[in-house]
Amino acid sequence: MTPTGTIQTTKPLKRLAVHATTTCAEQASAYGKCILATYTDVRRDICKEEFDKFGRCLHEAVRIDFGHPFRKLMCFPQMKRKW
């Protein structure tokens, strides 16, 4: 599944919730399976690769949700310089 950006919700956390369970469900599942395979011996970043994919998908999906550039500035002030 690819990020579609069709789901519009207002609250940032709600948006994250929607994308974590629907848009990026595939990546989420891959990450979950990785943890499941190692859950008796979990260390920091043990499933970094899988999470990076999941995180990228989430970031992309949440980013597409912001239509107006002004919203981008408000929500990601650390990215200000790029624009």
Partner: protein, 337 residues
Amino acid sequence: MNVITSRSLTKAHLFRTQTRGYATISSSGPSPSLTTHTLGPFQVFDRETKRKQRDRAAYKNGGASSRTVDYVRDEIADRMMERLEDIKRKFSTIVDLGSCSGHFAKLLDPSTTRKCIMIDSSHGALHRDPDSEFEVEVERIHADEENLLQVINPNTQEAIVSCLSLHWVNDLPGILIQIKEALQPDGLFLGAMFGGETLFELRTALQLAEVDREGGISPHVSPMTDTRDVSNLLGRAGFTLLTVDIDEVKVSYPSMWELMDDLRDMGESNAVLGRRHIIHRDTLAAASAIYKELHGTEDGTIPATFQVIFMIGWKPAPTQPKPLERGSGKTNLKDVL
């Protein structure tokens, strides 16, 4: 269970001769009169935060959000009512300690009791539902559940019940002793509280996510009491004729996010002293993925377990049945078996 801040550890390290308390709270803690060195071992929860969370939940959307998530409390109240119905006795008054919005009180009918006194520390929850929803007369007392004896005189009550409130009480042995004191001889205590298995799925998912993403864990789900401990505590508080049993309610949710939303609307958000006030969104997303893979069911939902410990105890009275004295048996068991 004890919360030890790094500050107190440093202090103890610097002044080795000083005695250190079992547990400490942050300077903004709920009991300003208690200093670092006098605080007892029973400080686990931030009661003031808990009161605010429950008020906020009860007032949200004019009480509509809170009513939507009544399902757990209503179910447990119903099961607790079954246990009260087994007791063939009529009460003129029943005290409901930590009544919330009266989930248990609503099930009482005039054939069991005439009046119910609801005590709760959250004003919002206590006054959420109007008197017309109750079949019996209700009196609402806005007071801290931890200090029962400040609002109820000793040796006055026929029955005290508590439905899903004791899991936020810091001093559990203390409150049980207060309940016993407030009861008349041969008075009944009937309680339900969340047990240690409650929300274990959420607990494990968050822990695994935190370890993988951030490399450490922090309490997000409260420490809860074990069944074994409850019978010991009841016995220690001086109750007799104890009955303790456990029950489970499993609820299915679409995902971890709905579960957390509902917990917040129930006023059951985290209120452990020394908790972290934020969870990183990466950790949350990771926990949601882990929850689903680790505990999810085939139909795509996730289960959440609520384990409930039901307890019944009686204040001792000379009229109660007692076991015979040791060695007074006349029949040999060998002959019977």
